[in-house]
């Protein structure tokens, strides 16, 4: 739709594949090295997030006043320390956990919300469909950052609210995709067949149509996920997202900005982590899209 910033990933390079349905496929191409690296990075990040308590050598608020602004490579503080002598590596590890937790929670929320609304629109049509589409138009008309800024500062800030807010990012894309897919699936034999057998609408949608549209929705998730990471870190960078003493990748960059001239490592470590993570998820998403869903190409 013209109202939505279509992700570049949804545009296609149709020269590369588009096997006609049922055509013979001799062998799958090997998984490219970049995808292996991206996958490895994502797995590493998830492990870091899960094991943050074990991995972090210090507490995120533990001060080491004799080693303030220690450069990277200092024994005991391999990524250096900040102005209060807090260990950058420990803060980075905990920030990865917080940022991934928010992004993952929000990505799931957005997918569930959007898919449900899309299915509702497809099922009821009429007024419900118009309302969903109108809300989607509204979401697309207002830049998400502006909307988030207004909601956040005016409702105060808690982690739960923040995750819910981030969960609004991209819902309208799932809703449009889910609605379109559900409409076309409803016309196919299998949906009509289970309906004739007496299945409830919920059963038709969630047990039959959802599995048949899952690959497209999963691919959309890999497109929305990096956007959520970037939005979260941007808001936290502005001081309006994750609040101290809690730390996230974005708020670390925001804090490090004050020490750009004297201690750039405070800002570089989380910045590089953000870049590599969004890059890795995008690469994985591109590859998954080629594999799972040629229609999105």
């Amino acid at each position: 739709m013209k109202d939505t910033p279509i992700s570049p990933d949804q545009m296609s390079e149709s020269t590369e594949a588009s096997h006609p349905a049922g055509s013979f496929r001799p062998s799958r191409p090997p998984v490219p090295l970049a995808v292996w690296l991206a996958g490895g990075w994502v797995v590493a990040m998830v492990l870091v997030a899960l094991l943050a308590d074990i991995l972090a050598p210090y507490g995120i608020t533990a001060l080491d006043l004799r080693n303030r602004l220690a450069p990277p490579g200092t024994p005991g503080h391999w990524l250096g320390t900040d102005e209060l002598g807090r260990d950058v590596l420990s803060r980075l590890i905990v920030s990865i956990r917080v940022s991934l937790l928010i992004a993952f929670g929000a990505a799931v929320l957005s997918a569930v919300l959007g898919t449900t609304l899309g299915f509702l629109a497809a099922h009821f049509r009429g007024v419900v469909e118009q309302i969903v589409l109108m809300l989607a138009d509204f979401q697309a008309a207002l830049p998400f950052l502006i909307l988030a800024l207004a909601v956040l500062a005016f409702f105060g800030n808690s982690l739960v609210l923040f995750v819910c807010l981030m969960g609004l990012l991209g819902w309208e894309r799932y809703a449009r995709i889910a609605r379109g897919l559900a409409l076309s699936s409803s016309g196919q034999g299998y949906a009509a067949a289970v309906r004739q057998l007496g299945a409830s609408p919920a059963r038709v949608y969630f047990r039959h149509i959802l599995p048949n549209t899952a690959s497209t929705l999963i691919v959309s998730m890999t497109i929305v996920f990096p956007e959520i990471i970037l939005m979260e870190s941007g808001l936290s960078f502005l001081g309006l997202g994750v609040q101290p003493p809690q730390t996230s990748l974005g708020s670390m960059v925001g804090y490090g900005r004050e020490y750009l001239t004297t201690a750039p490592w405070i800002m570089l470590a989380p910045a590089i982590t953000i870049i590599l993570t969004t890059l890795a998820v995008s690469l994985l998403g591109d590859w998954l899209r080629d594999r799972l869903d040629p229609t999105l190409r």
Binding site: K2, P8, M11, E13, F138, I146, L149, F154, L240, T278
Partner: protein, 312 residues
């Protein structure tokens, strides 16, 4: 065509009403601005007087309709902090923001589209690969990181450019570059995809097979068709001229709309926030309308049955 136009205009108006409603509901229901502005120690009488003078003691729906009524007369309320009309305050900042976003838009179009076209026409060449790598970087490097990296390089290490403020023309260079580079990368990737899509169409094969010179195939057949999706993205960028620099303005202490919004949100200056929200939404809706009209110019097929494309 007239039906299509009125349909689009109606939807645009509806979107604006929704934005205003959203802003009003969120901002009014979220907390008590009187307590915040006056402070916790203010006497109950002072708070009551403050509420009465701002209309905050009326029922919420009265406030809502009063707001719409005032809006219709171009009155967007007074800033609770400065006591000045919010619209004046916001409009004062528009030129500063446009001074960043318009040159940045020119950079995006001037770099992004040629790079995308070149990359698509020379697919898998070294330049194509370089464009793609840069385009992916443009998407994955957030603007606050890019701006800090540029400051680190050009202001701290090389000392060529100032790192913040708006005193001279030189102060605008880094923020404009930050905005322009990121957008150019995105536009290049889009243009390349759109070009490749069109290059693969049967009519392009037909044209070159019947002996039309390649240059004329590209100029006459490929470019016009590839421009349609690209125009959509440019329209989105135009719509973002007002709101697109929130982060960058904050990093570079640039006195534009974005920084004003961050401050107003932190101060709960309701009128200013609503005015900015409305201005941003209006810009976005207007840009979308223009894009819709441009489709008709770019694609003669759509002039025949414009309404068919407008639906979902």
């Amino acid at each position: 065509m007239l039906r299509f136009l009125s349909l689009r205009l109606g939807r645009a108006a509806l979107t604006i009403v929704l934005v205003v409603t959203f802003a009003f509901v969120v901002l009014r229901l979220s907390g008590d601005p009187a307590m915040l502005i006056m402070g916790a120690e203010a006497s109950p009488e002072a708070i009551a007087a403050f509420r009465a003078s701002w209309g905050l003691d009326e029922p919420i729906w009265v406030q809502y309709f009063a707001y719409f009524g005032a809006l219709a007369q171009g009155d967007l309320g007074m800033s609770m902090r400065d006591g000045r009309p919010a619209l004046d305050m916001v409009l004062d900042r528009v030129p500063a923001t446009l001074a960043l976003t318009v040159p940045a838009l020119l950079i995006k179009i001037g770099l992004g589209i040629p790079a995308g076209i070149y990359a698509a026409l020379h697919r898998d060449s070294a330049i194509d690969r370089a464009v793609m790598v840069l385009a992916i970087a443009g998407f994955t490097v957030p603007s606050f990181v890019l701006s800090l990296l540029l400051v680190l390089l050009f202001a701290v290490k090389l000392g060529w450019l100032p790192s913040g403020g708006n005193q001279t023309l030189l102060h605008a260079v880094l923020p404009v570059l930050t905005l322009g580079i990121g957008g150019a990368a995105i536009l290049a990737r889009f243009t390349r995809s759109a070009m490749l899509e069109v290059l693969n169409q049967p009519y392009v094969r037909t044209a070159s097979a019947k002996g039309v010179p390649w240059r004329r195939v590209v100029v006459g057949h490929v470019l016009p068709n590839a421009m349609i999706p690209t125009v959509t993205i440019i329209g989105f960028m135009v719509g973002n001229l007002i709101a697109g620099a929130v982060v960058v303005e904050s990093v570079f202490s640039w006195p534009g709309i974005g920084r004003m919004l961050v401050t107003a949100v932190a101060n709960r200056d309701l009128a200013v926030v609503q005015t900015i929200l409305l201005l941003v939404a209006a810009t976005m809706v207007a840009a979308n309308l223009i894009v819709d009209l441009l489709y008709g110019v770019l694609d003669p097929r759509l002039r025949q049955a414009p309404a068919a494309r407008g639906g979902h």
